[in-house]
């Protein structure tokens, strides 16, 4: 069964009276437990596609179904709910709350899912343990290394048992060693049955995925499955 189904997706912006087609008729199907890398130069529409897949944005036209739910005509609250329940985000800049501990950062999606505190703490510590940070639970982001911060972010992406993990240049701000560690975690997550979508411009990162699509001028110009 397909997890994500995009059909004839257009995203059109009006910049200074000129029509810009960030996505120009994209068809994309992602199956469960797929490990997909989205590649393309800047301005190719790769970020727009990622935002679309991540339910942060809605298409100008076209159909988008996520696990059979029609995303393209959802309102903001429904989008927030689907992001909260079904998608785990990992950002290039980690996006942790600087004043909160690792545990609290990981808890946040559960707060928005309205889960009780004791249960939240338990799930959050389990998630941190699964990325090897059981001993950094009560550290704040500025007390952690870059790699550790990104691991906290991955733990945060995992707490709601998402159907999809969406990572935007997850190693972009890391040294190669930490980057390698992060990619190993993604590989493990994939082996455990998770569906992963990576946005990257590095071939070495994309090589971890078993399917790669390339975008150019808002169109998918290449779709290769290993």
């Amino acid at each position: 069964m397909s997890l994500i189904f995009l059909k004839n997706i257009y995203k059109i912006y009006n910049v200074g009276g000129e029509e810009v087609r960030a996505l120009d008729g994209v068809d994309l199907t992602i199956k469960e437990n797929e490990y997909l890398a989205i590649m393309g130069p800047s301005g190719s529409g790769k970020s727009t596609l990622m935002n679309m897949v991540g339910c942060l944005d809605t298409p100008s036209s076209g159909d988008y179904e996520f696990e059979g739910e029609k995303v393209h005509n959802m309102d903001d609250n429904q989008l927030a709910s689907i992001r909260n329940r079904k998608i785990g985000f990992v950002f290039q800049t980690f996006n942790l709350l600087p004043k909160a501990t690792a545990q609290h950062n990981v808890e946040i999606p559960l707060v928005y899912a309205n889960i009780k505190r004791e249960k939240r703490l338990k799930i959050a510590s389990d998630a941190l343990a699964s990325v090897g940070l059981d001993d950094r639970m009560h550290h704040k982001p500025n007390e952690l290394s870059g790699g550790q911060r990104q691991r906290v972010a991955i733990a945060r992406a995992l707490v709601n048992n998402p159907s999809l993990i969406l990572a935007d240049e997850p190693t972009g701000n890391l040294d190669s060693k930490s980057g390698q560690e992060i990619m190993n975690i993604f590989d493990t997550l994939h082996q455990n049955g998770n569906t992963i979508v990576l946005v990257t411009h590095e071939d070495s990162i994309a090589s971890h995925a078993n399917r790669t699509i390339r975008l150019f001028d808002g169109k998918i110009i290449e779709d290769v499955t290993k």
Binding site: N51, G54, L56, D57, D76, N77, A80, S81, R83, N84, R85, F89, F91, N95, L97, K99, I108, P109, V111, Y112, A113, N114, I115, K116, R117, R156, N160
Partner: protein, 404 residues
């Protein structure tokens, strides 16, 4: 939803605490506003208490025949040339008035009172008759008032006020003891109960009461004199008219002459007091509203800054599933917390201030007002936080995430 609510409070408190200086400065307007409104309330409540007590002392059913109008607008030299009230007219009033229930002439003089080495100066020495006891609201606490016979014979007996008994006798028994009033010996036969200050100005307990005969013989007749008349409360207006007529008759005034005396009662005090209260209340309210408006603008401003600073956080929170409403509540809560924080500081300062006011006259911070003040600061928080919070809630998550 409840756990989110608690979470929002936690986020807000930690955000306020981590920007302590900024929060304090921001909340200053609210602090001043709340301080002004509660201090004003405390002041008015204290004034009310003190005023009520003072009015009790005057009594609502007593008319005071005096040389001066208590709240007159006559030129002072005109009043100054009026003849003094003669205490002997009290007999005429008693005999002729149909409204007067009790009539007591009062003559006052100020001198020192001594007992051994103890000395109290500036004591009000009131000479009056035994009927005074029926007119005044104050009770004799220990001993007794002087009798008609003692008054007639001009006996040298005195009823002393609480200040005098405290100063001269402390805890010892004063009854039967001799004291010197001015340079004359008197025997203490009674103590008046504590009456406190009149309108917070002078102590009503710093006095001795003696028979008027003795007063007139021993002390100068130049002190002021008057006649106190107790009537039925319902008859106040009629009695005023009657007494005016009687006094005009006694003074042999022609119909064309103006009154050269005054019949006073407590009402004008109340009118004056109501005006003072309006003035205090109005000033307090003005300061409160002004500082709350200015404070509110300051809070709105700092909230806009806070939203701007945390744009990326807002984007992240939205990506993680926060709805616009949740973001709105988060920032609204923060603004409310800042205001409540200011409100609590204001209340704390006001409590300190109320203790200071209390040292001048008895007063307490009204509890209801304190609650209302906190409610008011919450409202300021909501009103001034609304626009910034709305702005935060409406942020597009993609733009917010991209914001550096």
């Amino acid at each position: 939803m409840f756990s989110l609510f608690i979470e929002n409070i936690k986020i807000s408190v930690s955000s306020v605490l981590s920007n302590m200086t900024r929060s304090l400065l921001t909340a200053l307007g609210v602090v001043i506003g709340i301080l002004a409104v509660t201090l004003m309330g405390t002041l008015i409540s204290g004034l009310d208490q003190s005023f009520e007590k003072s009015m009790e002392f005057l009594g609502k059913d007593v008319l005071y025949i005096r040389k001066f109008q208590w709240f007159g607008n006559k030129d002072w030299w005109e009043i100054r040339n009026r003849p003094n009230i003669q205490t002997k007219h009290s007999e005429t009033i008693r005999n002729k008035s149909q409204y007067a229930k009790y009539v007591a002439p009062v003559a006052e003089w100020w001198t020192s009172v001594k007992k051994g080495d103890e000395n109290v100066s500036g004591v009000r020495v009131s000479g009056t008759t035994e009927e005074f006891a029926m007119i005044t609201i104050a009770e004799v606490d220990k001993g007794r008032f002087f009798s008609r016979a003692e008054n007639r014979s001009g006996a040298r007996v005195a009823i002393i006020g609480k200040d005098i008994s405290d100063a001269l006798f402390q805890d010892k028994n004063s009854l039967g003891e001799r004291i010197r009033i001015g340079s004359y010996n008197f025997r203490v036969i009674g103590e008046m109960e504590k009456q406190g200050k009149f309108l917070g100005m002078f102590s009503l307990d710093n006095q001795v009461i003696i028979p008027i005969g003795a007063h007139q013989r021993l002390f100068s007749r130049r002190g002021w004199t008057g006649i106190n008349v107790k009537v039925d409360e319902a008859d106040l207006d009629n009695a005023t008219e009657e007494l005016t007529a009687l006094m005009r008759q006694v003074r042999r005034l022609r119909p064309s002459d103006e009154d050269n005396f005054a019949i006073n009662r407590q009402d004008p005090f109340k009118e004056q007091y109501a005006m003072i209260k309006i003035a205090i209340g109005g000033t307090g309210l003005f300061i409160t509203i002004l500082s709350l408006i200015v404070g509110g603008i300051g809070i709105a401003n700092i909230m806009f800054v806070s939203v701007k600073e945390r744009t990326k956080e807002i984007g992240t929170r939205k990506a993680l599933g926060a709805t616009s409403k949740m973001i709105l509540f988060q920032f609204l809560m923060e603004s409310i917390i800042i205001c409540l924080f200011g409100g609590l500081i204001g209340l704390g300062l006001a409590y300190g201030g109320s203790l200071i006011i209390n040292s001048f006259f008895p007063s307490e911070m009204p509890f209801g007002l304190a609650l209302a003040a906190l409610g008011l600061s919450m409202i300021v928080g909501i009103v001034s936080g609304l626009a910034p919070s709305y702005k935060a809630a409406k942020l597009n998550p993609i733009d917010a995430l991209r914001y550096e």
